[in-house]
Amino acid sequence: MSWWAILGLAVAAYALKAAGLVGVGARAVEGPALRLATLLPAALLPALVVVNTLAADRRLVVDARAAGLAVAVVLAWRRAPFVLIVGLAAATTALVRAAG
């Protein structure tokens, strides 16, 4: 990967962040639009989880990552501390992978 590629990616990534925060005036984000916007993390985080645990390229798969996900969901539901959720999910995946 060249330096130009990294700089290009940096400029594009920053432009996307700034477009939302600076480009769109706060006045444009009122009432219903604001309610929609503040729900975005609720919709996007589960999608990121699905893509990172249940997908391999363009296939849905159940592998060692799914075991880690199951542990994370149970622990998060029981309101376990963040570090425990992340640590035990990683350990579970590592163990299942080593065993498989």
Partner: protein, 271 residues
């Protein structure tokens, strides 16, 4: 998690307070909204640094992966400093490592980064009235973690504090982790053998929990997951995540306002 430190009563406060402040911010719509609400409490600040430390571990795995994919240590560090959006960085480097073209590395990285534009819109009312320079600086830390924790806070002041605290904690830890992973990659070994690829999504599971306290949040979360599951086999990488943003529409249209029907606590659990 950051918000649990406020105790059991916090759940209801988030739900009812959240909507009240949302409407207040809408009405005020002008220069710095009156600080009607409380700042972020110290317990939440500590929790945010714990989160940052965990993100540092992801940073280590990014550093290892990046140098394995052929980036120099300086390039890996520059990427985390300048690009600073984890999922996109992993996607770009992953495509390169798999022998993909630069074009497809860019494509999937930028599709993933597109959600930050939506997060920026979500944070815009909180930052309204701040100077342009401050908002341009804030833009660099508009990411999953800062937006997720900020939007889970009950009031505008706490949102702003949570946004900066989380963004800075993640920025510092992510970059320190990247540097460590890039320099000491050989000593650390294969991140997948340590299960670190599961740690990243597990962190997102934890981050989404405060949003599941409201029925709207649960509908949006279930919808987002469903959209991603359906689209993974059908669409190129990145598209399932961008499309998941549409799940907020049914969540708002078909779910009564939280102040009318919100459950008294999060007992209903993970939708």
């Amino acid at each position: 998690m950051a918000h649990d430190s406020s105790g059991g009563g916090g759940a209801a406060a988030h739900e009812f307070g959240g909507d009240r402040v949302a409407e207040g911010a809408g009405r005020a719509s002008g220069p710095p909204g009156e600080p009607l609400d409380d700042p972020l409490d110290p317990g939440a600040r500590r929790a945010i640094w714990v989160l940052g430390a965990a993100i540092g571990v992801f940073g280590v795995s990014f550093g290892v992966l990046a140098t394995t994919a052929g980036l120099t240590v300086a390039q890996a560090c520059a990427m985390s400093l300048l690009v600073f959006t984890g999922a996109s960085q992993f996607a770009a480097v992953g495509v390169i490592a798999a022998g993909g073209s630069l074009g497809s590395a860019f494509g999937s990285a930028l599709l993933l980064a597109a959600r930050n534009a939506a997060y920026g819109v979500a944070m815009a009312p909180t930052m309204a009235g701040r100077s342009l320079g401050r908002r341009l600086l804030a833009a660099q830390i508009v990411i999953d973690e800062s937006t997720a924790i900020a939007t889970a806070q009950p009031g505008r002041v706490a949102r702003e504090h949570a946004f900066w605290a989380t963004g800075l904690a993640v920025f510092v830890c992510w970059n320190a982790g990247t540097a460590l992973g890039a320099v000491a990659g050989d000593a650390i070994g294969d991140p997948e053998a340590l299960g670190l690829d599961a740690a990243f999504p597990a962190g997102f599971v934890a981050l989404v929990m405060p949003h599941l306290r409201s029925r709207r949040g649960r509908v949006a979360a279930a919808g987002g997951a469903l959209v991603a599951l359906v689209l993974v086999p059908l669409a190129p990488a990145g598209v399932p995540i961008v499309a998941a943003a549409l799940a907020v529409v049914p969540a708002v249209l078909f779910t009564p306002s939280p102040s009318a029907t919100g459950p008294p606590d999060g007992g209903g659990g993970a939708a």
